[in-house]
């Protein structure tokens, strides 16, 4: 597992770079270069593993398959895109630029562990490695009271939910005598002890917290709103997607055979997430906060992949992770250019900067799930998985209804840009490089929508 080692070492290198390199710009360039290296290492891992080959590392603590490696590569690619798009904004957050990028590298290390774990202890360590840097990043704007509040809130709630996760792991260990997720497959429906059931429920609650599914979503709006926008973009995309892959790995590999025992609980969580996320997003005035609720709503759709427990679900998760990440990173990159984060701040953007407005429209269309964008294919695949499984038709219909609701708040931004009079003020000048990168992001969104098989056939 070269990528895990590489992510750690590169993170440490970046930390030390902060001591010796004082120029913020050169630190950011170094970070982008190191992320390129990390992407290279991931691709190296990918090409040296044959299809259908499964490797295990560290006494079977990690089990690496092609899917996990491909997911890691794509997430690293998204991180690279993210770093290129927002590196200027990250430099503006505070004076510790090297540390911010180092923490992002450490988060990636957690991502790699979460997509390949074969032992629930590695799952625990992975979740900690994923979460702790986020608490710091959320509070990185130290002089801002809201940022500190976000950090503290996230830390307390996160620590609590990790406690629940550990409790679940303990109960499962008590019931089965193992930490290995493959051996959990021997759990049988007709002889499930109350202890094992309680353990599964605890794990589900802990994961629902990490992916911000209702009713464990309360922290999300405050944290996403309070944290500095560049880091919100990272938390809402790559981190959330990898928490979902970990969720799915455990519930499909280990508890897939006994899915009838936990399916109803997760279905209710899904319905609540879709309802709360979409309905509350409608009432928001700030686009940043709307995106926070939209990330809850999107989590509702991703939960379908966990619910469905079949091969299409795995494909759906992959494409949802990438399509959602790319579109949201793009949307946040545009948002960071705006001076005013409210809907009114977008008034008349189409007149002032037609190109930026067009890019924003594509990102929003993708988030709303309009055909020919990545978001449509993502929603299509996860709902297809649920239909193939066939037990949750009421939920699929409810999700379609909620997707229609979601169009309202995404289109409100488009309305503001194109049909409202106003003078949308930009925070900074949008440089030619920014335009080029945004154009690439838009292209990715459209390619994902037109040819999803590019990332599904691996």
């Amino acid at each position: 597992m070269k990528a895990i080692i590489a992510a750690t070492v590169l993170g440490v290198i970046l930390m030390f770079a902060g001591l010796f390199v004082k120029e913020k710009k050169s630190v950011a360039s170094l970070a982008v270069f190191l992320l390129f290296v990390l992407l290279g290492v991931n691709i190296w891992d990918l090409v040296t593993t044959a299809p259908n080959e499964t490797l295990s590392f560290f006494n079977n603590m990690l089990r690496v398959d092609r899917y996990a490696l491909w997911f890691n590569t794509l997430m690293t690619g998204c991180t690279l895109l993210y770093a290129l798009l927002v590196s200027k904004e990250i430099q503006r957050v505070g004076s510790h630029v090297a540390e911010y990028f180092a923490l992002i590298c450490f988060i990636l290390c957690g991502v790699y562990m979460l997509s390949t774990y074969n032992n629930v202890l590695i799952l625990f360590i992975g979740i900690e490695i994923l979460s702790i840097p986020q608490y710091i990043l959320a509070g990185s704007d130290k002089r801002n009271l809201k940022s500190s509040e976000a950090s503290l809130k996230y830390f307390l709630m996160g620590a609590f939910s990790t406690g629940i996760l550990l409790m679940g792991i303990t109960l499962l260990y008590g019931a089965t005598g193992t930490f290995n997720i493959i051996q959990y497959t021997f759990l049988q429906s007709d002889m499930l002890s109350p202890m094992a059931l309680a353990g599964i429920l605890f794990l589900m609650v802990a994961f629902a917290f990490k992916v911000s599914a209702a009713p464990m979503h309360m922290w999300t709006p405050d944290v996403y709103d309070g944290a500095p926008t560049p880091f919100t973009a990272f938390m809402a995309t790559i981190v959330k997607a990898s928490a979902f892959v970990a969720f799915m790995r455990l519930f499909s590999v280990s508890f897939g055979a006994i899915s009838s025992d936990w399916m109803m609980v997760l279905a209710i969580i899904t319905a609540a997430t879709l309802f709360v996320g979409n309905i509350t997003a409608v009432f928001q005035q700030s686009v940043k906060r709307m995106l926070a609720y939209s990330s809850i709503a999107q989590a509702g759709f991703m939960l379908f992949a966990v619910l469905a427990v079949n091969a299409t679900a795995w494909q759906g998760m992959m494409i949802y992770a990438v399509a959602y990440s790319v579109a949201t990173i793009g949307m946040f990159a545009v948002l960071m250019k705006m001076k005013d984060y409210t809907y009114d701040g977008f008034n008349g953007l189409a007149k002032k900067d037609p190109m930026l407005a067009a890019f924003t429209t594509v990102f929003l269309l993708s988030l709303a799930g309009i055909p020919l964008t990545g978001g449509f294919m993502a929603k299509y695949f996860v709902l297809l998985a649920a239909v193939e499984q066939g037990k949750m038709m009421w939920l699929v219909i409810f999700a379609l209804f909620m997707a229609a609701v979601s169009a309202y708040y995404y289109f409100r931004v488009i309305m503001a840009m194109y049909f409202k009079q106003g003078n949308a003020e930009l925070n900074t000048e949008v440089s030619a490089t920014d335009r080029f990168l945004l154009a690439i992001t838009v292209l990715l969104v459209i390619v994902l929508g037109a040819a999803p098989n590019l990332i599904l056939n691996i």
Partner: protein, 130 residues
């Protein structure tokens, strides 16, 4: 008491009965003693009794004052190195069995730890005057 032993020997949720009883006794004791002292104890509240006790002298100022973060930093660093030392104990006991591989693993652990230490020193976390 026989039924408790019986309960403990069965591999069912019923075998947690002794734990549940223990829990009830524990909570009951706390509630009982605190509640009893609340109800039975004499109550003569005067203004003097409500102020913080500071060895008999009148209290000065507020107890909630900003503290230098250095104290916290030193405490955290202490915990870190303490944990590092704790990891050495099991290694020292199994030094021979773990052989070369274990040695390099520990070297790697210490190297990561040291790089963290160098980092904080360079960042000036241990500079007391500022």
């Amino acid at each position: 008491m026989n039924f408790l032993l019986l309960a403990a020997n069965q591999q069912t949720p019923f075998s947690y009965l002794p734990v549940a009883i223990q829990l009830l006794v524990g909570i009951g004791f706390v509630v009982l003693t605190i509640g009893a002292s609340q109800f039975l104890g004499p109550k003569r509240s005067t203004a003097d009794k409500l102020i913080n006790f500071e060895s008999g002298i009148p209290s000065v100022g507020n107890a909630r004052q900003p503290m230098a973060i250095k104290y916290f930093l030193v405490a955290i660093l202490f915990v870190l190195f303490d944990v590092e030392v704790i990891f050495f104990y099991p290694y020292a006991v199994n030094f021979k069995e773990l052989g070369q591989e274990g040695f390099w693993a520990v070297i790697m652990f210490v190297a990561f730890f040291l790089s963290g230490f160098i980092y904080i020193v360079k960042k000036g976390a241990l500079d007391w005057e500022d």
